[in-house]
């Protein structure tokens, strides 16, 4: 007997790990990309005082001047006096939220489907009424807050984490397998006594090793740069991340089951991932989509992963409250593994 240098599962896992680590591009996509994206979006959507809304006053008469002066008191409005042609042009192109036409009655022109137009109308209305002598009957006190966990960056970081787990899981596994097939290596492996299940397991295990670092880096960045909280337990977080990683490893195996070329698998990969990029609540909440789509959106594994990550990071949810999400991801993992074992092309 001579030494075997570790069991086949260890060797298969090491193979994938070495390939990933020796590929500078892969390291960039896995680690640097999500951080750069979070940094860019975090800066773009950094919480700050809302921008002043542009309001046009039509005409240059004395009445227009007094309207401009009255609106000028409201700091959340930015007022310009314009002739009617220019005022409408700017309204149509969205460069002003509201056009005020002085006169009796006072006329507000705006697009009723635009939220900022409604807000501008409310502010302009109050300012003009007050200038005309209206008195408020109740005293009001404003208390403002900027709580951690309620900002856009707090919403975004779990979404990016989910996106990253999906992307690296599917690309990492799908690409590697198709490349192995394209290089004739899969056939060579099958000609050896290698167990097919160990081959697949090795792919997944290598992913999981990477995952620990991947998730750690993004979370640490979120916490240090933006103070994104982890309110739930680390154990719960790990369970959700693991479930998501297994679901997307399974999907990666599934899309890689048949294609003979890297080009072929790329198309399938995008077909599977792009809908989830849009629908699963990465950059904005999926509840914005019409009610009728919600049952479908809830089925998607990335929706379950993102919802689970937000629940544990932002709400500090206990494991009991995410059982449904975990079941969803487990279903995807088991289902896609089972189907890909059946239809896998080994040559």
């Amino acid at each position: 007997m001579s030494k075997r240098g570790g069991g086949p599962l260890l060797q298969l896992t090491l193979w994938r790990l070495r390939e990933l680590m020796r590929e500078p591009e892969a390291v960039f996509w896995v680690f640097a990309f999500p951080i750069l994206l979070a940094l860019a979006l975090g800066i773009a959507f950094k919480n700050r005082a809302p921008q002043a809304l542009a309001v046009a006053v039509q005409g240059t008469t004395g009445r227009a001047d007094s309207a401009v002066a009255a609106l000028g008191v409201e700091s959340r409005l930015r007022v310009v006096a314009l002739d009617s042609v220019e005022a409408y042009r700017r309204l149509r192109t969205g460069r002003v939220a509201l056009v005020v036409v002085p006169g009796d009655p006072l006329t507000f022109r705006y697009d009723s489907t635009r939220e900022e137009s409604h807000l501008a109308r409310l502010l302009a209305h109050a300012a003009l009424q007050q200038a005309a002598g209206r008195r408020d009957v109740r005293d009001v006190r404003d208390v403002t807050t900027a709580e951690r966990g309620a900002r856009y960056i707090d919403f975004l970081i779990p979404g990016l984490l989910g996106l990253n787990i999906m992307g690296t899981g599917m690309w990492g596994i799908g690409f590697g397998i198709v490349q192995t097939r394209q290089r004739g290596l899969l056939k060579r492996l099958v000609a050896s006594p290698m167990r097919k299940s160990e081959f697949m397991l090795g792919q997944v295990l290598a992913r999981l090793v990477f995952l620990v670092f991947e998730v750690g880096v993004v979370l640490a960045f979120g916490a240090l740069a933006f103070g994104v909280p982890l309110r739930g337990s680390l154990l719960h977080l790990s369970v959700i991340v693991l479930a998501g990683a297994l679901a997307f490893s399974g999907l990666g195996l599934l899309v890689a089951s048949r294609p003979r070329t890297v080009e072929g698998v790329s198309g399938l990969m995008n077909l599977a991932m792009v809908p989830m990029w849009v629908l699963s609540g990465v950059f904005f909440a999926w509840s914005h989509f019409p009610e009728a789509m919600h049952p479908f959106i809830r089925l998607l594994p990335l929706t379950a992963l993102n919802d689970g990550l937000r629940a544990v990071l932002l709400e500090g949810a206990g494991i009991g409250t995410t059982l449904g999400l975990l079941a969803n991801m487990a279903m995807w993992a088991v289902g896609s593994f089972a189907v890909s074992l059946k239809i896998f092309r080994w040559s």
Partner: protein, 310 residues
Amino acid sequence: MTPDAAIRCRGLVKHYGDVVAVDGLDLEVRPGECFGLLGPNGAGKTTTVEILQGLLPPTAGSVEVLGRTWDRDRAELRQRLGTQLQETLFPEKLTVRETLQLFRSFYRRGMDVEDALAVVGLEEKRTARVKQLSGGQRQRLAIAVALVSEPELLFLDEPTAGLDPQARRQLWEIVLALRARGRTVLLTTHYMDEAERLCDRVAVVDHGRMIALGTPQELIASLGAEHVVEFAAADGAALAPAALRALPGVTAVHAEDGTVRLTVARIHETVPALMALVRDRAIELTRLVTHHATLEDVFLHLTGRSLRDE
């Protein structure tokens, strides 16, 4: 108990749609011999060895390897065979040693990775990435991978295809050393010199059928002549095949692309007669070569085509 044949197949047929790749092949490879499948590209050699290795199901026919069948003893056979397939690209980012360790781990028994490196002379490349290897070194690695389990039967599919002469010769040395140690090898090639040099017995295949079988010497002797005289004339039409066949010692005449080949039993009689004929008819020879008959000539004799045409 050792079976009397390392490989035995009967009536092997493989269809791909309408294309017949293998057309009723019977083969028997004896334990301890280096057996060659010789034929042009597209003759069905690779399909045949892939069926024998259980990688493709045959359309018809029976296959026994080491006395076992793929249906019943797949797992055991995988442990006992070693293989080098055509066109396997090993992972570029692994080192030579890591690649061998990976494959070694699949087998219950086998040799040390370092020993396998030594057999193919890649010790100094053990820490080099596969990407950095030359074509010949990659083929040697493929053979090391095939040997690392100390297989009872070794398949080598076109082991020297596409290599330069020096790399080919290095690979030949490796195969000859294996043969000297009594390993059973099934080798496919479309190089006649390779088959002649390496194989104990050769099966010549064409269009999925076996057209000749024997030791290289037997096959050459079957031509009934030991030598070949090849010449080209400035005006080739001036020499009728009938006139050439009438020369002493000639057993066959074959003209192709302006070159005439005479298969010759007694060269010392044929050459002076040919020279006399050329002088009498005032023909200018542009080329004249004589050589010992080879498997190439056997193939040409059997099919009317040369091996490298395709």
